[in-house]
């Protein structure tokens, strides 16, 4: 909070608004039941992905020289929130950040899907000649079968590394998230590494980046679930009046609004922290932990308000809530991040607690 706003120049704001407006229109045009069902059936909607590529969204964080939009990091990350708000069933968030991280790995960029490897996929690196070989397992990787590249946390004799791998040749075992999105696994045995870079302790790992994306996406999806639930409450009539008139319904939705507002605040604060490179690892832990808690509560309230209708495949609420239930667990569920925050706080001690909290 006490940081300097990295994006306070008016030109940057204009660019951000332009990109977000255009992306919002594109998502609204293309995302809906048809697209959700197609991706759940295992199809990769090439035409829709190409439309995102054409608009330059997966590269939005790269410099103009790399065919990117040169968007500031905090602005570009707002695309993840927006994608969540539309339940976009495509690997835009992963590729957006993947292309950003690639700039610090092999420096390359292309139109392929880049995905991020989750927590339990820490890989072992070995020096071979000038390069590296890698062993390990990639576990439940988002969109793995459709990816051209995977960026993962690795380990070279105790030194944390960030590695770039080619994903095309991997033998992916297919699985899916609760929302029916691909979550695939593969084994790596003496596999080649395209690029590796030191990832010093206390700097955000790939898992941190993934957690940040899921926090932002979930904050966006919660915002939509609240809108769906309030609209439904105003339309659905029982006992001769809209159910929104019942105080029990109002009180629940007000509580949900508090959770949604809190989640949005926590996720955006984490995004600002990584953009400003200030307390990023801790702020992402806080963001993911707080959003994860809000996700479950919000989904439960939205479903209670929509009752049987919300429990159908037909109603679109479930495309948002099933994502919330997946995203809160991916890249570390609440206890994983809470333990890290708690260790930090307890190490700071009673007298150090307020300086810690107020310094964030």
């Amino acid at each position: 909070m006490s940081t300097v706003d990295p994006n306070n120049d008016a030109g940057g704001d204009e660019l951000r608004d332009m990109v977000l407006d255009a992306a919002g229109r594109l998502f609204a045009d293309r995302v809906g039941r048809e697209l959700w069902q197609a991706t759940e059936a295992g199809e990769f909607p090439r035409g829709d992905w190409d439309a995102l590529v054409e608009m330059g969204l997966p590269r939005a964080l790269r410099a103009e020289a790399d065919g990117g939009a040169g968007l500031a990091l905090a602005d570009g990350l707002a695309l993840a929130e927006l994608a969540g708000h539309h339940a976009l069933p495509l690997p835009l968030a992963e590729t957006l950040v993947g292309n950003h991280l690639r700039a610090g790995l092999d420096g390359g960029v292309d139109d392929g899907v880049v995905t991020l490897a989750a927590a339990d996929s820490r890989l072992q690196l070995r020096r071979v000649g000038n390069g590296w070989r890698v062993d390990g397992a990639l576990d439940r990787i988002a969109w793995g079968r459709h990816a051209a590249y995977v960026i993962a946390d690795g380990d070279a004799d105790g030194a944390p590394q960030r590695v770039l791998l080619a994903a095309d040749d991997l033998d992916w075992r297919h699985d899916a998230s609760l929302a029916g999105e691909p979550r695939d696994s593969a084994r790596l045995a003496d596999a080649p590494v395209l690029a590796a870079a030191d990832c010093p302790v206390h700097t955000p790992t790939v898992q941190h980046w993934g957690a940040l994306l899921r926090a932002l996406q979930a904050a966006g999806a919660m915002r939509r679930a609240l809108a769906l639930a309030t609209d439904y409450a105003n339309e659905r009539r029982q006992f001769g009046r809209p159910i929104a008139r019942f105080q029990a319904v109002q009180q629940q939705l007000a509580a949900m609004a508090g959770e949604v507002a809190t989640a949005g605040t926590a996720a955006e604060a984490a995004a600002r922290a990584i953009a400003a490179d200030r307390d990023a690892a801790l702020m992402i832990a806080i963001g993911k932990a707080r959003v994860g808690e809000a996700a479950g509560r919000s989904a439960a309230i939205a479903h209670q308000v929509l009752a049987a209708m919300g429990f159908t495949q037909e109603h679109e609420l479930q495309y948002f809530t099933r994502r919330l239930w997946s995203w809160r667990d991916e890249f570390g569920a609440e206890p994983h991040w809470q333990a890290i925050i708690g260790e930090h706080a307890i190490a700071a001690g009673g007298d150090g607690l307020w300086p810690l909290v107020s310094g964030l």
Partner: protein, 383 residues
């Protein structure tokens, strides 16, 4: 649908410098043994402490200099009160005057009231109470029955206020009274009056002890109490708008987040040697809540600074913040196998006891949780 936005604020260097200044002041006070940091901060009345705050310019900070203020920003004021509460400083004497009564007088009071009262508040010498609730008017505040009748040069008040915190030690209260019978609009015909708490003028204060035996709130009876015209706050009949405006100040501050912070602090200290996976998770969860709530509260301060009226956002912060305050003792007691005690003499046990015993009031005072959620629901377009 309204979606609530809590835009971040950037603290200017001057605000950060002020934070250092407050910290230095509090460290001095602590070193001199002038307060113990484990008490119920804004429930603790200490006139000497308030005077020292006044000397340092920590009260009425946003007001014009001619009224004893320093024309500080909302952010500057926020950093001062946040540091006071985090340190567990005894700010209870001047709290209400600084948080709301003084602002109300500055915005709506007569020049005479401003000139005679505000400088004394800012000096930490003049304390206020809130005279809203009555025996038959709690959440339904528009139903207040206190009558004000016109007389020569002013008004006469008759009726009873209740739950009036610090009335037994304050110099004034601001009373909400009926100046006209309720018509079609129940909210019309209400007016706010600045009333000196003076037995000679028909004001009687009777103690009401709270559930742990402390005398914090009161019943206040008014019998033909005279209030001169220049102690009317705002237009006759326009009291309701002022009351709701005041509540935005009352609801969003760090006082709705930090009521049990001293317990969290003692808990963290107590866990230094015994922390395990379970306590790390539990403490980490609370800290994640605190950090996020703090951002939201600061964001509301930013809105106040920009001149917005964040009534809805303030209600959200109070709803989420007070639930958090109530959770801290519930979680602490599961982590440390030590019973709460006000008398055993250790800081943890006392903070736990204080927190358990005062927790119920967090979601009552300043508007109940249900009333706040009703306000939020209206903002969502549900009513």
């Amino acid at each position: 649908m309204v979606s609530f936005r809590f835009d971040p604020v950037t603290l200017p260097a001057s605000t950060l410098a002020l934070r250092d200044e407050v910290r230095a002041f509090l460290a001095e006070e602590l070193a001199a043994g002038r307060f113990t940091p484990h008490r119920n901060s804004w429930g603790t009345f200490d006139a000497e402490f308030s005077r020292r705050c006044g000397e340092r310019g920590f009260i009425g900070m946003r007001w014009p200099q001619r009224y004893g203020g320093r024309e500080a920003s909302a952010l500057d004021r926020h950093v001062v009160i946040e540091e006071m509460l985090a340190a567990g400083a005894p700010v209870g004497a001047h709290w209400i005057a600084d948080r709301q009564s003084g602002n109300n007088i500055l915005a709506n009071g007569s020049e005479a009231a401003r000139a005679s009262i505000l400088p004394r508040i800012a000096a930490g010498e003049c304390y206020f109470a809130i005279g809203m609730s009555e025996p038959d008017s709690g959440s339904d505040l528009a139903s207040v029955g206190m009558r004000a009748t016109r007389t020569d040069g002013g008004w006469r008040l008759n009726g009873t206020k209740i739950w009036t915190s610090v009335a037994h030690r304050a110099h004034y209260l601001i009373a909400l009274a009926r100046t006209a019978p309720p018509g079609d609009d129940r909210r019309a015909g209400l007016t706010q009056f600045i009333v000196a708490i003076d037995a000679a003028n028909g004001v009687t204060t009777r103690p009401i002890h709270n559930l742990y035996g402390a005398h914090e709130f009161n019943e206040v009876l008014f019998e033909d109490t005279f209030v001169p015209d220049d102690m009317i706050v705002g237009e006759i009949g326009a009291g309701w708008q002022m009351v709701t405006g005041e509540l935005a100040f009352e609801r969003s501050g760090p006082d709705r987040i930090l009521s049990t912070f001293q317990l969290l602090r003692q808990l963290v200290a107590r866990l230094a040697e015994t922390a395990d996976a379970r306590s790390n998770v539990a403490v980490g969860r609370l800290v994640a809540h605190l950090v996020t709530l703090r951002q939201m509260s600061w964001s509301v301060a930013g809105m106040l600074e920009r001149g917005a009226s964040p009534e809805l956002e303030a209600s959200v912060v109070k709803d989420v913040g007070t639930a958090f305050e109530q959770e801290i003792p519930e979680i602490a007691r599961l982590l440390v196998p030590e019973q709460a005690s006000l008398t055993r003499g250790d800081l943890y046990g006392e903070a736990l006891a204080q927190s358990v015993l005062s927790a119920p009031c967090f979601t009552i005072r300043g508007g109940t949780r249900e009333i706040l959620r009703g306000i939020i629901a209206r903002g969502l377009g549900l009513r």
